[in-house]
């Protein structure tokens, strides 16, 4: 977050080789009988981060989160929090708190009692409990609801109580299980930004589990994409989006066009890929590491493809096709263009002007893109 006119920010902790990770997950595996839920996962999470575990259901992200919270014990591997080995420690002895997907607000206690519960377990003196609860309720904007019972609250209000209850203990780590899943779209957006501001204010390290990529992209300082119990790629949202390391990641985040092909030229500062699917060649202006004659895929995001009625210059990165389908979404339009090879390419175009060149069904168009746009993935 560089503000112009100020000194450059410190390098991100995950790029700094001297930074000590706050949470270290070392080669953790979890098996349930024959089924491996989490497979040899290693992660470093730094203090003050919002780290998102992103993946489809069944990929192991919730199991990993529960191991951080102490509700499951790893079959093998270690978990260190702030330098201490917490691998077998039960949840009531960890400086970690969890916000559950169902919020898990105790129905037989009012809001105040719910928020105070954790402090009571720690034998904090009564006066201090009162003060900390009041401050926290103020922070989540629920001060007027202190005496209400949970069944008198809306979903969003209950979530704030759950948040207050976990944060009032000043945990070293806060785990959030699908925090925005139960909220409707407008509330979700609002809450996303509230969560970020809250985290910033309190400086707590968050680990969030979600299957919603939009949520991950908005909240996270870094994302860990999971599939079949493994972390497939971890990095900042822009890294994951712009430089996916595998087909799976490229396809999972946002939409992407994949063209299968062979490397015909492989140089240190450029590569050229011949793709039969495309019916042409893709020129990429950076080198990649792949064995010779390897089968690769060129991944190009729909918003990075230009669509014109006139043929652009150059032999690479140009194809011709006809418009099959158009979806008008208000702020942008999605075009499905059929190439002579039969492949359908997805192109998105923002509707910047009402009078822009309008393209209709069955029109012949030319698709082109920058040589920096394609990402080459080898698996």
């Amino acid at each position: 977050m560089n503000i112009p006119g100020t000194a450059p920010a410190k390098p991100a902790p995950w790029k700094d080789p001297n930074a000590k990770p706050y949470v270290q997950i070392e080669r953790v595996t979890k098996k349930f009988g024959d089924f491996t839920a989490v497979d040899d996962v290693s992660l470093k999470i730094y203090k003050g981060e919002i780290f998102c575990l992103l993946g489809a259901s069944g990929c192991g992200k919730t199991t990993l989160l529960r191991m951080l919270g102490g509700f499951e014990t790893p079959t093998s591997g270690r978990i260190l929090i702030d330098g201490e080995d917490m691998t077998g420690v039960p949840p009531y002895e960890r400086p970690v708190n969890m916000m559950f997907q169902s919020y898990a607000i105790f129905p037989h206690m009012n809001v105040e009692q719910n928020v105070a519960f954790g402090l009571k377990q720690d034998r904090v003196p009564k006066a201090e409990i009162k003060e900390r609860v009041a401050t926290m309720l103020e922070l989540v904007k629920m001060s007027g609801f202190a005496k209400r019972k949970p069944h008198q609250l809306s979903g969003g209000q209950r979530q704030r109580v759950a948040l207050a209850r976990s944060l009032v203990k000043r945990p070293k780590l806060l785990l959030l299980d699908e925090p925005l899943g139960a909220l409707d779209k407008k509330l979700r957006e609002h809450t996303q930004f509230e969560l970020i501001s809250l985290q910033d204010k309190l400086g707590v390290t968050f680990v969030v589990v979600t299957h919603d990529q939009e949520e991950a992209m908005t909240l996270a300082s870094r994302i860990g994409v999971m599939n079949h119990g493994e972390i497939v790629q971890s990095g900042t949202p822009s890294e994951i989006y712009e430089f996916p390391s595998t087909k799976f990641v490229a396809d999972f985040i946002g939409s992407v066009n994949m063209f299968e092909g062979k490397l015909i030229e492989d140089e240190p500062n450029y590569v050229r890929i011949q793709s039969d699917e495309l019916g042409g060649t893709v020129f990429v202006n950076h080198g990649i590491s792949a064995p010779p004659e390897a089968v690769v895929w060129a991944a190009i995001r729909p918003e990075k493809i230009f669509m014109t009625t006139a043929c652009p210059e150059g032999n690479d990165n140009v194809v011709q096709g006809s418009v099959q389908d158009i979806a008008y979404l208000g702020d942008l339009s999605i075009f499905l263009v059929k190439l002579p090879t039969g492949k359908i390419v997805r192109v998105t175009r923002p509707n910047t002007s009402r009078h822009a060149e309008s393209i209709t069904w069955d029109q012949q168009v030319y698709l082109s893109w920058d040589s920096s746009s394609p990402v080459v993935v080898t698996r």
Binding site: G88, V89, P90, E93
Partner: protein
């Protein structure tokens, strides 16, 4: 540092105690008693307190005599009285179960299909008799069925009959008593099963061409199978060994095994024979009890889905 192993041990013991307390109680007062009954069924009768000879005795000169007497069982199998009683009990219980099903199924169905407001009221009405003493309600039938009882008086007053019908102290009275007492036990599991049914399945069947009675026969009935089985077991199994109803409503000719067991025990002080009767009854009923348990397990597995 966190006393993990100690905690683990504590945690295990904690769980262990929770499960062990009821477990030990039931072993002592439920499982062991059956072994004792088994043992006594092999003993000789004795005119003493308690009225049976011990199984294992010192026979002097470092010898132990174990007397296992099969006479009790032989007696049961050869004496027609007991055989008839067993068969009659099963027959009565079976017919009563079918009658309960015929009356109870439409009632359960009606309650399950009614509006939520009426449903609670109807359920309350079904459950209310269950909370009032069985003994008293069976007694009520004495008043209804006897020679100068309500029904006979009514029929005579209406001019339909000129002499009172002999209803009390007959097999017929026993059927009425059993069906009457066990009807709620049939209705409740059936209702519980029907309530969870997806009624849109019936609509889909009708949409595809089934007439209403066909839809019932092909869709509702098979899906309520677990409820039918559970309710039937809850009626049949205890009815086989029923004592109170045969004692109050059945005549001296009403041969029910529960009553025989009671008489052997209290009137004849023939503990070994009574024990043998109990063991045989148990053997007959255990397969049905296991069937009931498997039906319940299937039903709750279906729920968890």
């Amino acid at each position: 540092m966190y006393k993990r192993s100690l905690l683990k041990r504590l945690g295990l013991t904690g769980r262990g105690i929770v499960a062990a307390v009821p477990f030990i109680w039931l072993i002592m007062f439920f499982a062991v008693p059956f072994i004792i009954v088994l043992k006594i069924s092999f003993s000789d009768i004795d005119l003493a307190i308690p009225p049976y000879k011990p199984l294992i005795e010192w026979a002097g000169h470092n010898l132990i005599a174990i007397k296992v007497n099969f006479n009790n069982y032989v007696f049961l199998f050869t004496d027609h009285l007991y055989l008839n009683a067993f068969i009659n009990s099963i027959k009565v219980a079976f017919i009563s179960t079918v009658l309960c099903l015929l009356i109870g199924y439409p009632m359960a169905y009606g309650i399950a299909r009614s509006k939520p407001a009426t449903r609670n009221l109807l359920l309350l009405l079904v459950v209310l008799p269950f909370w009032t003493s069985l003994l008293l309600r069976v007694y009520a039938w004495i008043g209804l069925l006897k020679a100068n009882g309500v029904i006979n008086n009514f029929l005579q007053w209406m001019g339909l009959i000129h002499e009172p019908l002999p209803m009390l102290y007959t097999q017929f009275a026993m059927y009425i008593g059993i069906v009457y007492s066990y009807l709620p036990f049939m209705i409740l599991p059936l209702y519980s099963n029907l309530e969870k049914m997806d009624w849109q399945l019936l609509e889909a069947a009708q949409d595809l061409g089934c007439k209403p009675w066909q839809a019932f026969y092909k869709v509702t009935l098979p899906l309520s199978r677990n409820g039918i089985l559970a309710g039937s077991m809850l009626v049949f199994i205890p009815a086989v060994g029923e004592f109170v109803i045969p004692a109050l409503l059945g005549g001296p000719n009403a041969l029910m095994i529960g009553r025989i067991l009671w008489d052997e025990f209290f009137s004849n002080r023939a503990w070994p024979v009574a024990s043998a009767v109990a063991i045989l009854l148990l053997i007959v009923l255990v397969p049905f009890m296991m069937w009931y348990q498997s039906v319940q397990a299937r039903e709750s597995a279906g729920d968890r889905r």
